[in-house]
């Protein structure tokens, strides 16, 4: 007879989180990572030392190819984590959303107690020509790229179709842009810290018709880092852990033309549903959501796919200001989102976790603080929706 084994599922908490400012950095990869890791480690207010880390997962597209191979080994050398099992996680813009999920799974499986998840991208040290190359490597190269598409073009196709299918216009996207610039103007870590007037955002330079410059996120440098811990060690590290209540992830056809609908992201819907189910929560329980607004239309779709708005109602949700901090039903992109906080590709997913971690602990600037925030969500998308990771966090463990 086999011995009885008591299986106790461990709970996972975020105990520390930090990031660089996003934008144009003088620092390179090593310097940015070291800064983000220092910030994250310093935010752990109890017993913690980098030597306690068991594993590390670092998300990056390795934009520019500067350190395409063995990125994680190089970076962890510069953050006092030499000798650990480390690896780079690549899922385009969702790289560190998946790095975070991998870190969570490592603890959940019982193989590790303390794990670091992070992300990094250096994008502004390239010539414009080389940058445009790297900006388009995550679509279906053979078919989309040779049809003239980079991501502004791909999302422009989605936006035009959305306007055709639903009661929405470009003005609804402008509302997303104005809101996220407003939030970003209050965030000292944001790439673009200034508000934009509706009229100006509505008449920006046309990048990919119907998307203007104000519909597109900036090209940012940056790094972010998060420390996760198993419940039995988390209590030594902090009195105010932020619990990972749910994790969901999914993938979809890489190419837009292979999907039955281009006005919804199936990967987001699946990942969101799994995360909500695990957390035993619904979209109505979410106080703030950091969603992947690489383009304004992406935020409109995300509010629908994550259940904050009914299908076809995402435009109205934006028009009515439902996502504005302390005004609407859920604060969407209180950090400024990718649109204003910035989008250093590999850093974005764990950067979203940094924001939710601080919001749930009441540690952001007072004007940006979501009042009474108990539950937050992060939504990190790769490409035009080929990959997606959604996480739900709570101040309470269950």
């Amino acid at each position: 007879m086999l011995p009885m084994v008591a299986l106790v599922m461990v709970d996972v908490a975020v105990v520390g989180a930090g990031q660089t400012r996003y934008g144009n950095h003088d620092l390179g990869l090593k310097g940015m990572w070291a800064e983000a890791a220092r910030s994250a480690f310093a935010s752990v207010d109890g017993d913690f030392d980098a030597k306690m880390v068991d594993e590390a997962y670092i998300g990056s597209l390795a934009f520019g190819g500067a350190q395409l191979g063995n990125t994680a080994a190089l970076l962890t050398e510069h953050s006092d984590m030499e000798g650990l099992p480390v690896r780079r996680v690549e899922n385009a813009c969702a790289s560190s959303g998946f790095a975070f999920r991998d870190a969570w799974m490592a603890i959940k499986s019982g193989q590790a107690d303390v794990v670091v998840a992070g992300g990094i991208e250096k994008m502004n040290d390239l010539t414009p020509e080389r940058r445009r190359y790297w900006l388009g490597v995550s679509g279906d190269t053979e078919w989309e790229r040779l049809a003239g598409l980079t991501f502004p073009g791909t999302y422009a196709l989605m936006a035009r179709r959305y306007f055709h299918e639903f009661d929405a216009t470009h003005d609804d996207l402008v509302h997303v842009s104005v809101k996220n610039h407003l939030h970003g103007s209050l965030n000292p870590l944001a790439h673009i810290q200034k508000e934009v007037a509706f009229e100006k955002a509505a008449s920006g330079f046309m990048v990919a018709d119907p998307l203007t410059l104000y519909d597109c996120c900036p090209t940012s440098d940056g790094a972010s880092c998060v420390v996760l811990a198993a419940d039995h060690v988390a209590k030594r590290m902090t009195d105010t852990p932020v619990w990972v209540r749910g994790s969901g992830a999914a993938s979809d056809h890489l190419a837009l033309h292979d999907r039955p609908s281009i006005t919804q992201l199936k990967a987001t819907q699946t990942a969101g549903r799994k995360a909500y189910e695990m957390a035993n929560l619904t979209p109505r329980d979410i106080d703030l959501a950091e969603v992947h607004d690489c383009f304004t239309i992406a935020e409109v779709l995300a509010t629908e796919d994550l259940g904050f708005a009914q299908r076809g109602e995402g435009g109205r949700f934006a028009r009515e200001g439902q996502g504005i901090i302390n005004q609407g039903s859920v604060a969407v992109n209180a950090s400024g989102g990718l649109k204003s906080k910035g989008h250093p590709l590999g850093a974005t997913g764990t950067g979203q976790v940094v924001e939710v971690f601080k919001q749930l602990r009441g540690q952001v600037e007072s004007q940006r603080q979501v009042k009474g925030a108990e539950v937050g969500l992060t939504h990190n998308v790769g490409g035009s929706g080929a990959t997606c990771a959604v996480h739900v966090f709570g101040r309470d463990r269950t």
């Binding site: 388009g136 078919w143 989309e144 980079t150």
Partner: protein, 276 residues
């Protein structure tokens, strides 16, 4: 004579020959459009001929991409080493005029009544851009599609060959079990569809493969089409026409140059409005 417009070109169909001409003129001379060349004209000529009769083998002169022609039209290119004679010859001209003729046929090139005058400065700039792009030393920073990778997908790219899966036509082809070619066979899709969405990327936002020509063309336009056989696809719009794009508008697919890299031109299907 009154020209028949076929795939964006002017066609004169006679019993023993087919003449294909570019609609564009510079002074007295026919010139190629912004993404056309002798290969794209030859593909149009053969596809037009195939509407009327079988084309068994074609002798292809230098200056025409024989592989692209063969793949796009699903025909045999005549082998110079063979003992048999070709059924058809392709004859090039100094201008953007091409003839597909039976060997020994007496060809008469009619004066077509369509002549679209092109701007000389624009034409010269496009020609110069293609020359730069075609230089073997020109390696754009584009997401790299190697020649081998291009050739592997040449048939679906040039002739819309797909598969017939359990739930209908599949394109581009898959390697998954339920759509294997071995099981289901190659299925050529009808090269037309309706617009589901479209965009024009500014020159600054276009992929770097197009960086030499996009500023001259005012960006690049792409359509998402629902093909008449079912699958969807994204396609560039032809460079030398400016169709008014709208939802559900019918479009046809024609072979044009896409871009060049490492001295090799990548051809593919592009969309053009179906004339009313």
């Amino acid at each position: 004579m009154t020209a028949e417009v076929w795939m964006g070109y002017l066609v004169d169909h006679c019993p023993d020959f087919t003449v294909v001409q570019s609609p564009f003129v510079l002074g007295d001379e026919r010139v190629f459009g912004a993404d056309s060349d002798a290969t794209t004209l030859s593909i149009a000529a053969v596809l037009h001929r195939l509407q009327h009769e079988n084309v068994a083998s074609v002798a292809v002169p230098e200056g025409i991409d024989a592989d692209a022609l063969s793949t796009a039209c699903n025909i045999q290119v005549w082998d110079k080493e063979s003992e048999s004679e070709p059924d058809w010859d392709l004859l090039l001209s100094e201008e953007a005029i091409l003839v597909l003729a039976r060997p020994g046929a007496e060809v008469e090139i009619s004066v077509m009544d369509v002549a679209v005058e092109v701007d000389q400065a624009f034409h010269e700039a496009i020609v110069a851009a293609w020359e730069m792009e075609l230089n073997v030393l020109h390696v754009s920073q584009g997401a790299y599609v190697s020649q081998a990778q291009y050739v592997e997908a040449a048939s679906p790219r040039l002739s819309l060959s797909g598969q017939m899966g359990r739930n209908g036509a599949v394109w581009p082809p898959r390697y998954s079990a339920n759509t294997s070619q071995k099981e289901n066979g190659v299925h050529r899709l009808t090269p037309s569809g309706r617009v589901l969405s479209w965009t024009t990327l500014s020159a600054a936002g276009a992929p770097s493969e197009f960086s030499l020509r996009a500023p001259l063309l005012g960006g690049v336009s792409t359509v998402l089409l629902e093909l008449v056989d079912g699958p969807n696809g994204v396609f560039l719009v032809v460079d030398d026409e400016e169709p008014e794009l709208s939802m559900d508008a019918p479009m046809e697919l024609v072979v044009r140059r896409i871009y060049a890299q490492e001295g090799f031109i990548r051809y593919g299907l592009k969309a053009r409005a179906i004339p009313a």
